[in-house]
Amino acid sequence: MERAMPQAVPLGQMEVFQALQRLHMIIFSQNVSPCGKFLAAGNNYGQIAIFSLSAALSSEAKEESKKPMVTFQAHDGPVYSMVSTDRHLLSAGDGEVKAWLWAEILKKGCKELWRRQPPYRTSLEVPEINALLLVPKENSLILAGGDCQLHTMDLETGTFTRALWGHTDYIHCLALRERSPEVLSGGEDGAVRLWDLRTAKEVQTIEVYKHEECSRPHNGRWIGCLATDSDWMVCGGGPALTLWHLRSSTPTTIFPMRAPQKHVTFYQDLILSAGQGRCVNQWQLSGELKAQVPGSSPGLLSLSLNQQPAAPECKVGSARGSGDPGRPGCVDRSVTTLLPLGPDSRRQQLQGGCLYQSGLPSFLPVLLTSSNTPTSISGV
């Protein structure tokens, strides 16, 4: 009798609290290290966890190697955004951007290299920073978020050089047009604004919700995600995910996805998007849904591509989750070599900052069938 009884692990006060904390964790941001072997993930408790992709994705990966190598408290509030330069990891949360040295992060007890706060008008609460964007040509960083402005920071000197304003509500996302020094920003006010960095002026405004084709008033106006490639721009959020032609300011393709999208990116001749819902979606530019890769998390907040050819075994595009937020699916994108269909195919999950393998067998690894070497996004 008592021998056979399944014995639930008795939970004390601490364990219950930790379990609840893990259950309510949200991974807001993630970034692949410059070498492509490590992944940093930031959660709503202000912690950054570093995972070793090479260890977690290798064929003999154990449970242990899917746990974070290092976890450290980076911010007091959530870590909303992270970007990587050649040497630094920049993370942003409530009001502040902090820099960490990649070389030191992997050592225990790493300390921030510097921290900067954009010049805010005094307010009852500190505005958050929702998006970071590197402008390599200028060696500057653009920050945008709660105070409805785009702040440009010179990475050389660490000073804030200019502020662009025009948004009437807080800014969700930023995108850089690589050819011309122009930045796109999308915000809660439902507008995508195009800024010229040379003149620091607003060049163009697209108020997406005003176009009937893509407007979805029950979801709100907000633009949650934005990506651009030459003359094309894709954005989504409250309104439907739409591909725009920038010069003519017209929506060309409206993707048939009902759930609001939180992250979108161009990848070769495809568009990847994620948001409410368990899947990472792959779209043809024509609007056809090419594939859906299910993850464990009911909602995804960010996608990240590992574009380092240096570590071919670690080509990972990962999608981080909200919803069942602690468990963002980490989508393995390296095509045929790494995750062949079959019993070996594994999916990694991050839970509570620990990478572990889920029991779900249904991961379809064939995302991008064509390429063995994912490179940066080229023309469509």
Partner: protein, 694 residues
């Protein structure tokens, strides 16, 4: 040979011719004397050697004569007859000599014999004397050894050492100048001193004896006095009983209890002693109040002492009995099968038998509610069980949903994490159960009480995790080390349960009973209302579609209590499935939400619902209120109402829908949304009264 020797000697004799002549003359002498004396006298005078010569000579002469006669006869002449006659006369003379010699010889022999005899007698006398002397010597030697080996009494006497003797003894006893050189005198002196001392001691002893006698007499007198006091005291005691009761000082009762406690089995005894001690220690600690006045912990023993005493009597050959009954059983099984089940039942009853005595522990809380714990000891299983009952000062109206809160079955469940008290803590029991076919103790728990681990520890029983062992000894230190924590936990448990009970009573009527000291956690105006609070089964909880995460995280064990709350505002209905851990309020209740408004929203499809859950589940510490935070559940529910208000009021208005918003924004918010996940401002800032983001 003699003839030979005689032949040899013949010439000698012949040569000494003078001898016979001499002999002749000697003979004539004796003959002369023999006239007067007997021949005996003659013997002395004659030399035997001569006689021997004479004898030899005579014999030779005879032989010669005989030979001559024979010669003559053989020749046979005429003159022969004369010659023969002559010769015959000569022979006769010789014969006479021979005869004489013979006589002499006889006399001599006789004389010799006499002499020998005489000598022999003398020797014998000497021998005897020698023997006597030897014996005497031996005897004397024995005497000497005896003397040497003689053990004097004084050797056994432990004498004072020499130095001490010379130091202490008076000079007339010690006589140092005499005794110094003479050990014998010394010993004597020491013995004298010993005697002296002993005499003195004897004197003292006699004195002491008389003293003792005197004291004994005194005691006797006093005893008599005391015994005469007893009835008086008894009567006083009797008279004072009502006073004792009135003053809550049950001295008498305590004494009786200690008497009974001797019959308790060891674990219960340990429990009794430790709880009593703890209770007294507690009473002492609260010395600011009059001692023993507020007794939060009272211990009593219940049950029949006689039965317990009967247990201690030697068992009447139980071993034989068993084997007998076994044999009997075999027979009976052959004869009557149906009785087998009954017998097994009896065996089970025997195995689960508890000791006739039990310990009652009443734990009084601040609000006068009392937790009654009855501890039993299962003799054959060597485990302890407890039954719990809660009584309150005022009559409680039991809300339907609070059914399990104070039920004896669950009130103490999981006092320590995982200690649900449904399986036996003694691993050895499993084997005993197998024998009688008991599947699990769980089925008997209602009857016997719960064998919680902490109960065993209070009784000083410590069981190893895995291996069964039969020698489990009741240990005081184990009990003592767990006493304080356990008592505190018990008190907290009862108080939290009673607090929950009270809260449930209001919750069932749709009132969230926020106390005044928690009011600051919430805005003054809360529109959402609790409309339903019901208990649900564990199975129902696990089947709900929005509770999957909690179940998967292992937070929904079957020891928890489950409830369903419904919060409403207008058309919006918020279902909240609540897991109430028995460890409330140190372990918070866990809420899972499902909002029915413009479609079903759960944490799966709405980040804000998830945020609301984390507000009540993760940030519960803000809602604890004043210690010991029994109001947590109420505050969480009230917070949930506030959160629903915020959620509904900040929902972006759908421009395409005609008419005013269903929920106009009344709450003051800094911003409606924030961050990539578009969180709503759920955090309430107390004095200013506005809502912001966390």
């Amino acid at each position: 040979m003699s003839s030979e020797s005689s032949k040899k000697r013949k010439p000698k004799v012949i040569r000494s011719d003078g001898a016979p002549a001499e002999g002749k003359r000697n003979r004539s002498d004796t003959e002369q004397e023999g006239k007067y004396y007997s021949e005996e006298a003659e013997v002395d005078l004659r030399d035997p050697g001569r006689d021997y010569e004479l004898y030899k000579y005579t014999c030779q002469e005879l032989q010669r004569l005989m030979a001559e006669i024979q010669d003559l006869k053989s020749r046979g002449g005429k003159d022969a007859a004369v010659e023969i006659e002559d010769r015959r006369i000569q022979s006769c003379v010789h014969f006479m000599t021979l005869k004489k010699l013979n006589r002499l010889a006889h006399i001599r022999l006789k004389k010799g014999r006499d002499q020998t005899h005489e000598a022999k007698q003398k020797v014998d006398a000497y021998h005897l004397q020698l023997q006597n002397l030897l014996y005497e010597v031996m005897h004397l030697q024995k005497e000497i050894t005896k003397c040497l080996e003689f053990k004097s009494k004084h050797e056994e006497i432990d004498l004072v050492s020499l130095e001490e003797f010379y130091k202490e003894a008076p000079p007339d006893i010690s006589k140092a100048e005499v005794t110094m050189g003479d050990p014998h005198q010394q010993t004597l002196a020491r013995l004298d001193w010993e005697l002296e001392q002993r005499k003195r001691l004897a004197e003292k002893y006699r004195e002491c004896l008389s003293n003792k006698e005197k004291i004994l007499k005194e005691i006797e007198v006093k005893k008599e006095y005391l015994s005469s006091l007893q009835p008086r005291l008894n009567s006083i005691m009797q008279a004072s009983l009502p006073v004792q009761e009135y003053l809550f000082m049950p001295f008498d009762q305590a004494h009786k209890q200690y008497e009974t406690a001797r019959h308790l089995p060891p674990p219960l005894y340990v429990l009794f002693v430790q709880t009593t001690a703890y209770g007294q220690a507690c009473a002492h600690m609260k010395s600011s109040q009059p001692p023993r006045q507020d007794k939060t912990l009272s211990v009593a023993i219940e049950g029949s002492v006689d039965e317990a005493k009967a247990l201690f009597k030697p068992p009447e050959d139980s071993q034989d009995d068993e084997s007998d009954s076994d044999a009997e059983e075999e027979q009976t099984t052959k004869r009557r099968r149906p009785t087998l089940g009954v017998q097994l039942d009896d065996k089970r009853k025997e195995m689960l038998k508890r000791h006739p005595l039990s310990v009652m522990l009443d734990l009084k809380c601040k609000d006068d509610s009392v937790l009654h714990l009855t501890f039993y000891y299962l003799m054959n299983l060597n485990i302890m069980t407890v039954k719990a009952k809660v009584t309150t000062a005022t009559e409680l109206i039991t809300p339907i949903s609070a059914g399990d809160l104070l039920s004896p079955d669950s009130v103490l469940s999981c006092l320590y994490p995982g200690d649900h008290g449904k399986k036996t803590p003694n691993p050895a029991n499993q084997y005993q159960f197998d024998k009688v076919g008991i599947l699990t103790l769980r089925d008997y728990v209602l009857d016997l009480g719960h064998p919680y681990l902490w109960v065993q520890k209070l009784g000083g029983l410590h069981f190893p995790k895995e291996q069964p062992q039969h020698t489990v000894i009741a240990d005081h230190s184990l009990s003592a080390s767990h006493m304080e924590t356990t008592m505190k936990l018990l008190k907290t448990r009862v108080q939290s349960r009673l607090a929950l009970h009270k809260q449930f009573a209001s919750l069932e009527h749709g009132i969230v009973p926020v106390t005044s000291d928690c009011q600051y956690l919430f805005p003054a105006k809360v529109v959402s209302r609790l409309v339903k609070w019901v208990t649900i089964a564990h199975e129902d909880y696990t089947e709900l579609h929005f509770t999957k995460d909690i179940v998967e995280a292992g937070l929904a064990g079957d020891t928890n209590l489950y409830y369903m709350a419904l919060v409403e505002r207008g058309t919006a209905k918020l279902q909240a499935a609540v897991v109430l851990n028995p460890g409330y309020s140190s372990i918070p209740p866990i809420f899972q939400l499902c909002l029915n408004w413009k479609g079903e929203k759960t944490n799966n499809n709405d980040d804000n619902i998830r945020a609301m859950e984390s507000e009540v589940n993760v940030c519960y510490k803000e809602l604890c209120g004043p210690q010991p935070s029994h109001q947590l559940l109420t505050n969480q529910l009230q917070r949930l109402c506030v959160l629903l208000d915020v959620y509904l009021e900040t929902e972006s208005h759908d421009d395409s829908v005609e008419g005013p918003k269903e929920f106009p924004q009344e709450k003051m918010c800094l911003r409606l949304f924030r961050g990539p996940s578009r969180m709503k401002p759920f955090k309430y800032n107390h004095p200013q009264g506005f809502f912001s983001h966390r």
